[in-house]
């Protein structure tokens, strides 16, 4: 894309992202009101945990005695100033709860994503080079298997194998409990804890990316510029890296953007299995406590993460591929 058009494209994307986030906030608001029962007790977290005075305070704060549009306005104003409410159960603001848990989730999803992308593209490239061989069929079988296996069950089976039977890796938490570690030992300890959850979350996407990159590489390999390069006498390795792989990566970037939401959804299950102290685990704890305020915060926060991730992939795409239309 011409650099002069980039700001306009960016602005368009930002507006779109803002609309999506606004829509999610409105969605959250109507969910509270669609739910059976008193909105105040839902905001507080149900099952009688909140006392009458707190409910009164909530009613005043959210303007529950006023018309719906006033309530929506109050709610919107709150969220836009990053006031995501208060968890009565944990006696902490929801925003600060989320903020505390965010790094762990980013570490987990980031590691899983990098693992899935690198291994998946490598496997897809190998399969594309050897179409019709057993290496190629392995990818198909792997993809079928991981498409059909529940994520949380893969996690449990890995725990069973690597933690219970072989006792190689920890199955619980993010760091060893009761041990004082310093410097590099801390990093190593976290990495050890990270391995199984990241593997669990990533395995499904390894299969997805392998299938996708195999298909796109075969498509690109058929095109004229690859034949030209071969006719020019460019070495095969260079053709693969510079001509085929580079062009095949574009659809994968797009796809990664589309799947960001699923990756984050999957992290809820993985964090639950491995007691990984991230946003997903927070969601599970909130579920157990029926703490809806926190759950809605998780929904808001994960949606913002997805929107931001999409924004980044859009940008990446526009920079990488000069043909992208500005209006797109």
């Amino acid at each position: 894309m011409e650099l002069s058009k980039l700001p306009g494209y960016l602005l368009g994307r930002l507006v779109k992202a803002a609309i999506v986030i606004l829509a999610i906030v409105v969605c959250n608001f109507f969910l509270i009101h669609a739910a059976p029962g008193d909105p105040a007790s839902i905001i507080a977290g149900q099952s009688g945990a909140a006392d009458a005075r707190f409910l009164e305070q909530l009613r005043a704060q959210f303007g529950l005695d006023q018309p719906l549009y006033v309530q929506l306005w109050i709610y919107l104003k709150g969220v836009l100033t990053l006031d995501l409410g208060f968890s009565h159960r944990q006696q902490v603001a929801v925003a600060s709860l989320l903020w505390d848990r965010l790094p762990a989730t980013l570490l987990l999803t980031g590691a899983a994503f990098v693992f899935a992308l690198s291994v998946g593209v490598a496997m897809g490239a190998l399969a594309a080079l050897r179409v019709g061989t057993w290496g190629d069929s392995i990818i198909t079988v792997l993809a079928l298997t991981f498409y059909a296996t529940p994520l949380f069950w893969v996690g449990l089976m890995l725990v069973l194998l690597f933690s219970v039977t072989l006792e190689w890796l920890p199955s619980f938490g993010m760091a060893s409990v009761g041990v004082e570690l310093h410097g590099f030992a801390v990093v190593l300890d976290v990495a050890k804890h990270l391995l199984l959850p990241a593997l669990t979350l990533g395995l499904f996407y390894v299969a997805v990316y392998a299938r996708l990159s195999r298909a796109t590489m075969l498509e690109v390999a058929d095109q004229d510029f690859v034949k030209t390069a071969r006719a020019k006498g460019v070495p095969e390795g260079r053709i693969l890296r510079r001509h085929i792989l580079r062009n095949a990566l574009l659809p994968i970037i797009t796809f990664a953007g589309i799947q960001a939401g699923q990756l984050i959804g999957g992290s809820i299950l993985v964090e639950t299995v491995f007691a990984w102290p991230g946003i997903g685990r927070l969601a599970f704890e909130a579920l157990l406590a029926r703490d809806y305020q926190v759950l809605m915060g998780v929904f808001f926060c994960t949606s913002v993460m997805v929107v931001l991730f999409n924004l980044i992939t859009d940008l990446l795409y526009a920079v990488v591929d000069p043909r992208v239309e500005v209006s797109a």
Partner: protein, 281 residues
């Protein structure tokens, strides 16, 4: 129909898938005969390993028979998978048909709406919906339908876009047929095959979604389900591996067979595409 079967049975995986699927269906239907009584009742010693105490797949922490749980869970999984797919199809087909047939501003609006649902983390939304409307079969089906209609809408819209300017549609318009009867009577039957393929994949992902929800404790509290079995085995996996292993295998086999059947359907309904496939997917 004969052609259909020939093309379908050419895909060996699809035939295996169909056999497994029928077996799961039979298990679901026969569950009350094979394992009479409630799967929630105690049947033997707690934590009996598979094969002991006459329990084929062992018992759980409360002495409930895992095999009985799996048999009764098959009913819930298949039921939720089927009903929520029908619901998602209803939403997706109507929105996709409206967008594709009317085009213009309506199309734009519907597609933005669809994109919104594809952007947001759907599993988180499903959790939120089930939690707020209290866990029950109805709320689970509702939540799964709400998060899984967008692909249907996209496929149906694309089909309608390409079909609506065809001659047979124009002929119906000239004959003065109403819009509704053109959409339902002329265009929809011609758009059915991608919908059929998609729906078998949707049943599979609905079963996965239901198991994930009930794993998190959001299952219907009165219904035994596979996800619930795995969830209750999670904390005692060091003592009783069988509690989480077997229900997982049940989910895996069912979902795999549905995906295989989906591929077979796709081959059978688009024979041209299947033959071209050769090396490429």
């Amino acid at each position: 129909m004969k052609d259909f079967w020939r093309n379908f049975s050419r895909n060996r995986g699809a035939v295996v898938g169909l056999v497994v699927l029928v077996a799961v269906l039979i298990l679901a239907v026969l569950a009350p005969v094979l394992y009479p009584g409630s799967p929630w009742d105690m049947a033997g010693m707690p934590f009996a390993p598979p094969g002991e105490e006459g329990m084929l797949l062992g018992t759980d922490s409360l002495g409930r028979d895992v095999a009985a749980g799996i048999a009764h869970g098959a009913r819930v999984s298949l039921l939720v998978g089927a009903v929520s797919t029908v619901a998602a199809l209803a939403i997706g087909v109507s929105l996709g048909a409206i967008a594709g047939y009317l085009g213009g501003l309506v199309d734009d609006l519907v597609m933005r709406f669809t994109e919104f649902f594809q952007t947001i983390p759907s599993f988180v939304l499903a959790i939120l919906l089930v939690a707020i409307f209290t866990p029950s079969i109805a709320s689970i089906v509702f939540a799964i339908a709400v998060v899984s209609w967008p692909p249907v809408a996209r496929v149906v819209r694309a089909e309608f876009l390409s079909l609506r300017s065809r001659e047979f549609v124009q002929a119906s318009e000239v004959l003065g047929k109403s819009r509704l009867s053109i959409v339902v009577g002329d265009i929809l039957p011609n758009a059915l095959s991608p919908i059929v393929v998609l729906s078998s994949l949707m049943v599979a992902s609905a079963i996965l979604l239901e198991s994930a929800l009930s794993f998190l404790g959001l299952g219907d509290p009165n219904m035994m389900s596979w996800g619930f079995l795995i969830g209750s085995g999670r904390s005692v996996i060091r003592m009783a591996w069988w509690m989480s292993v077997f229900p997982g295998i049940a989910i895996f086999l069912t979902v795999l067979s549905l995906n295989l059947v989906g591929e077979g359907l796709s081959d059978a309904l688009n024979p041209r595409l299947a033959r071209n496939r050769g090396g490429k997917p």
